[in-house]
């Protein structure tokens, strides 16, 4: 269907490029003809505008390539792919051996404008590479190249020659009108070309001692701000034309050319430059894995995905995860980050990841078992690397794509959890892997890896639920259901954190403390070995375990509790609002509510643990409208008031809980060290969003107290304080 939509159809004016009518001036446009500097500067400005229109998502064919200077230059370059051949001489118009006249105006075009055009095309080629490597065609940017080579085979150094020649030529002409404007455009392009260097900068993640050089970006912003103040003369006639659509190898339907205003173009480019600058300045400041994940989730995955150009997202992805899977180009890798992530939750000095500590029990063939266990653990860690890679790759995508990728990751992480459980249980049969130390409960395997995976999976599940609100995927009548399901998931998360994850860390601490008893009893070299192990663990593992416990108790548990109450309260609020929706019965649905529930919950339906609640349980847990329907008159008012009060209490609990979390965040040094980043901006934003959401719903509930029951309402949603929590309200019909 898509192909058919864009297929050429001979004889159909809307679909046949052969029917495009061109004026003689479009056909006979002579790119090598000399022009005054005011015209050249105007062309440069318009070229930048059309380039930005392409960056903004349109096809090259209707933006930059529709400029005859660009098209003629690339056509000539195609002859033998040498930069010297890339000039403006139209060989169909001029005989072989033709050289443009030697006038000053001719040099403005054939030196200055040529240098600029070549430079800008190379910038385009850097962006094209970003787009083709990591962005989605058409969804993020359109990369159809019309079989032209945008200097992709040339290095930046090779194209800098004509650009530098143009700059030095123009620097010698300070009194020519519009020289300043033209020179600024050239300098801008020269700075933008350095993006290719920035993209390959290396950062010693978590240990960076120096900031990255962003002077070229800073300078670009200054140039853009100055360019914003200039006005230009009119463009040469037929400079931008649909000639290219007729002339080049075009398999696409006729389309109108598009450009942007200078203000729009400068705004977009300035946004790109400053966003990249921010990325390059912030990443070296990240101190640990926890801060990195916060940065990825909030700055990249949310803020940048919403506001920055697709090119910035692509730049980030290539800068962050390199071809060799190293992170930011140095020692850190996807695998090492995965280990850090596990360690900062529950996998600390666990014997499963220390092969030397394995003393195979319960078998006569210890060597074979040891090799078998080693192979299983290696494979499991490889799988975790791959899953973690998928997790890290999500953040640089547009928000719609992020949700789709997260949805796909659910299946991956679910099966990973299953595999991890099988491996950990198998290993525990031979005494490998840490045990939980609980009073009255015999040694149970702690299943640290599976527990970590389960936690990650729960977070992803919740994110898929809540981002559905951001993307307006749920109808108002589904809102209570999805917030209820989110609350269920937060309840599981809370239980897992407060239960097993806390237990794993505290058991390890107890185990290290209990070593003293073993040391007392041991003798000779064994005593020494135990003593040295305990010393190592006390120095290396205990601080991490204590930090993990602080993070779980003071931060992760209260946050999951807050989120649970918030989702539950919003779900109940929406149900209360639904009670007042009185519309004529227009139910013409061809699907049963149960089928609709199953379809809506499909992304989570294949998950083994936690199992999707069956439809009946959903109905039982969300029965406010049904409950209220049983009452009338005074009894109804009393019941309504009772439910409203109970929801208000929940919302107040949420607000108090937020204060507690923020208090812990400010007071607890361990939490500060681990999570404080960028002036604790993310947490402050979260606090503001949650409290404001609660206040909005408290207002809606207050309004419910005053309804008489005779009004006719429709349930609607409006933009909230958080993208994940729009505000549902009643609109009078």
């Amino acid at each position: 269907m898509l192909e058919g939509t864009r297929a050429l159809e001979i004889g159909n004016e809307r679909l046949d490029t052969g029917l495009i009518k061109l004026r003689p001036s479009e056909i006979l446009f002579d790119s090598s003809k000399g022009r005054p500097m005011d015209k050249v500067a105007a062309v440069m400005n318009e070229l930048l505008n059309s380039f930005m229109a392409w960056v903004n998502g349109l096809a090259l064919l209707v933006t930059m390539l529709s400029c005859r200077y660009v098209y003629d230059l690339l056509e000539n370059f195609k002859r033998n792919y040498k930069i010297e051949e890339a000039d403006f001489i139209n060989t169909r118009m001029h005989p072989k051996g033709y050289t443009p006249e030697d006038s000053e105006e001719s040099q403005y075009v054939n030196i200055v404008l040529r240098g600029y055009t070549i430079g800008l095309i190379k910038v385009l080629s850097i962006f094209l590479k970003i787009a083709m490597d990591v962005l989605y065609e058409e969804e993020d940017i359109t990369t159809r190249s019309m079989d032209l080579n945008y200097f992709c085979t040339l290095s930046v150094e090779q194209v800098e020659g004509p650009l530098d020649e143009a700059i030095s030529y123009l620097e010698k002409k300070p009194h020519v009108p519009f020289q300043r404007e033209a020179l600024l455009h050239l300098m801008l392009v020269k700075n933008l070309l350095k993006l290719s260097i920035s993209m390959n900068e290396r950062v010693d993640l978590f240990n960076a001692r120096e900031t990255l050089d962003v002077s070229h970006l800073h300078e670009s912003v200054e140039i853009l701000d100055e360019l914003r103040t200039y006005q230009y003369v009119s463009l040469p006639e037929s400079l931008f034309s649909r000639f290219v659509q007729v002339d080049c190898n075009n398999r696409h339907i006729p389309t109108s050319n598009v450009t942007l205003s200078s203000t729009e173009a400068i705004d977009i480019l300035r946004g790109i430059v400053t966003s990249i600058q921010e990325v390059l300045l912030q990443i070296p400041n990240i101190q640990n894995e926890a801060q990195l994940i916060l940065y990825l989730q909030h700055s990249i995955g949310e803020e940048m995905a919403h506001s920055a150009s697709a090119i910035v997202r692509g730049f980030f992805q290539l800068f962050f995860i390199r071809d060799d899977k190293s992170i930011c180009g140095l020692d850190e890798t996807v695998g090492s980050l995965a280990l850090r992530s596990m360690s900062s939750l529950c996998l600390v000095a666990n014997s499963i990841s220390d092969v030397d500590s394995w003393h195979i029990e319960n078998t006569s063939d210890a060597l074979t078992v040891r090799n078998d266990c080693f192979a299983k653990v290696s494979l499991l860690f490889d799988d975790i690397d791959s899953a973690f890679y998928q997790k890290l790759s999500v953040y640089g995508n547009n928000r719609c794509r992020q949700r789709q990728l997260l949805n796909r990751n659910l299946v991956l992480w679910d099966s990973l959890q299953y595999n991890a459980e099988v491996v950990e249980m198998h290993l525990s049969e031979y005494g490998i892997g840490d045990k939980l130390i609980q009073e009255g409960v015999p040694d149970q395997p702690c299943l640290a890896i599976s527990s970590y995976i389960y936690y990650e999976k729960l977070c992803m599940m919740t994110e898929v639920v809540l981002t559905g609100f951001e993307q307006d995927t749920y109808r108002p009548s589904e809102a209570h259901m999805m917030y209820w399901y989110a609350s269920e998931l937060f309840a599981h998360t809370h239980q897992h954190l407060a239960g097993r994850l806390k237990e794993i860390n505290s058991s390890k601490l107890k185990w290290i403390n209990n070593m003293s008893k073993k040391i007392k009893k041991a003798k000779g070299p064994k005593k020494e070995a135990l003593r040295s192990t305990q010393k190592r663990l006390v120095e290396e593992a205990v601080p991490i375990l204590e930090e993990n416990l602080a993070a779980i108790e003071q931060y992760l548990v209260p946050v999951s509790m807050t989120q649970y109450y918030l989702c539950r309260a919003v779900s109940m609020s929406v149900q209360l609002l639904e009670h007042f929706v009185k519309l004529p019965d227009t139910n013409s649905s061809l699907a049963t509510p149960e089928k609709l529930y199953s379809l809506r919950m499909k992304p989570w339906s294949s998950i083994g643990t936690p199992e999707l609640p069956p439809y009946e349980r959903y109905k039982e847990s969300n029965n406010i409208p049904e409950t209220l329907a049983k009452y009338e008159g005074e009894a109804l008012s009393r019941m309504l008031s009772k439910i409203i009060t109970s929801v208000e209490t929940k919302l107040d609990t949420v607000k108090k809980s937020v204060d507690t979390v923020m208090d812990n965040f400010e007071k607890d040094e361990k939490i500060k060290a681990r999570y404080h980043f960028d002036d604790n901006r993310y947490m402050k934003k979260w606090q503001k969003e949650v409290v404001s959401t609660c206040d909005s719903y408290l207002k809606e509930l207050e309004a419910c107290r005053h309804f008489t029951g005779t009004e006719k309402h429709r349930l609607r949603s409006k933009k909230g304080h958080s993208r994940l929590f729009p505000i549902y309200y009643l609109q009078e019909v």
């Binding site: 969804e139 995927t473 109808r475």
Partner: protein, 188 residues
Amino acid sequence: MPVANVDLIDGDLRYYSYNPASKDQLDQISELISANLSEPYSIYVYWYFFHQWPQYCFLVSEKSSEKILGVIICKVGPHRDVRMRGYIGMLVIEPEYRGRGIAKKLVKLSIEKMMEWDHVDEIMLETETSNAAALQLYELFGFLRTKRMHRYYLNGSDAYRLILPVLDRLATRIGFLDRIVDVPAGVV
């Protein structure tokens, strides 16, 4: 259930099956669509639909006229070999006839026929996120927004994928379903 031509009268309007032998109908359909939809469809799109699924194109005219004032074009086929999916490709009503429930009737007719003739598991379509009227129409029938697609249309706007669940198979993720399409011998 064998496929049979539809020809119904509802008030002063006639709802009927597209006749593949009629060049006039094809011309009228493409003109109607071209005048009312933003995406430019080539003749190949119509051939694609009408060659394989002529039975799933329904037209509306005044009882006493041959002039087509509304059309719905659909298809049915296996989705990734595990589900039978109905798809609503295009729906257009002449502007002056809108608001009379014609689109609703055409959608209902198509859905019923896809269920009756091909036992579809689901019916799917895409629509612009800003097209409130289309969303309201389809959601009335129980279609759910299952996915938002970034810059899906040529004009740069986002789309929703809407799905109507018909049979229970739909609620299972694709990877967990058995194939419904026979694999030819020798092909793995």
